[in-house]
Symmetry: C2
């Protein structure tokens, strides 16, 4: 199973691609950070993000996409941009016809480190170890995106399969 994880952000958006099966170590395929210029207008920034994510999805042909769920408890000014970036990321997966699953930061932390309260350094260290990388992925946005992808592989895409089955049942199998 190949998963493309996205740690959404308007200025820096982390993208990590891994391959693996539940319960086994994953293999790194690639990671990226998509940058947009804060001096550009919002339309140009969202367009750049959309183009980049759509291209990466087409290039790596993942089986599914995992995106970090955004909460509005943080910085009010940046959270709206992060929410918009996450919408673009979810859309990029959906437009490619892929199942898209969102995870909260603590779900990802718990899956990767065993603790929902793990800090950034712990997360980066675990991602480096789990993927047997010679050095930590930089910047940290890329590590977070890889952690999301690992989390989704280990959960076996269970929730998205269940959700899809529920959708089908609700629609009487018409879709």
């Amino acid at each position: 199973m190949r998963v493309l994880g996205v740690d959404p952000g308007l200025t820096r958006c982390g993208v990590g691609v891994v391959e693996g099966v539940p319960g086994r170590p994953c293999t790194l395929v690639a990671y990226y950070v998509v940058h947009t210029d804060p001096e550009d207008g919002l339309p140009a920034r969202l367009l750049h993000l959309d183009t980049s994510l759509t291209r990466l999805v087409a290039e790596h042909r993942p089986d599914s996409v995992a995106v970090e769920r955004v909460f509005s408890q943080h910085n009010v000014r940046t959270v709206m941009g992060t929410a918009q970036a996450s919408g673009i990321a979810v859309l990029a997966g959906a437009r490619a016809g892929l199942p898209v699953q969102t995870y909260t930061p603590s779900e990802v932390k718990a899956a990767v480190t065993g603790s929902g309260q793990a800090d950034k350094a712990q997360m980066t260290a675990m991602v480096t170890r789990l993927l047997r990388l010679p050095e930590p992925p930089r910047p940290a946005d890329a590590a977070d995106a890889l952690a999301l992808a690992i989390c989704h592989v280990w959960r076996g895409g269970t929730r998205s399969k269940l959700a899809a089955a529920a959708d089908r049942a609700r629609r009487g199998g018409t879709r």
Copy 2:
């Protein structure tokens, strides 16, 4: 000048198209409300919104797009969906190569009613009068979208032209 206004929302997204010039009454072209089913998953909802907005932009060929700016001061649960919907709306305009401008609710209210504190009933009444409609547009999401479009026509797209000129100057004319 033809403007397509979007009052972003995940469950109900208002779209209003008007034509006009600054300082003169505008003419109604069309209005819509795009609905998505709250029981569907986020990817399906954002995809439906993207497809619908992209189709409406292609159909009406506006000169520019105006989108309401979202703040996180409201309901924490719905605001993230609204922010994601607004990102999809801005993207739909940008992907069509159109200038996209965002306005705060009070900018729109002030432009249309003369008061930044106008309530929903006042806004709907003014939109109905300004567009010389036989009855108020329903639901209110459509009236808000029409108000956004009127606001942008009356401002003559000034801010987006200035912003575009500033962008070009900053990039040394390469874009």
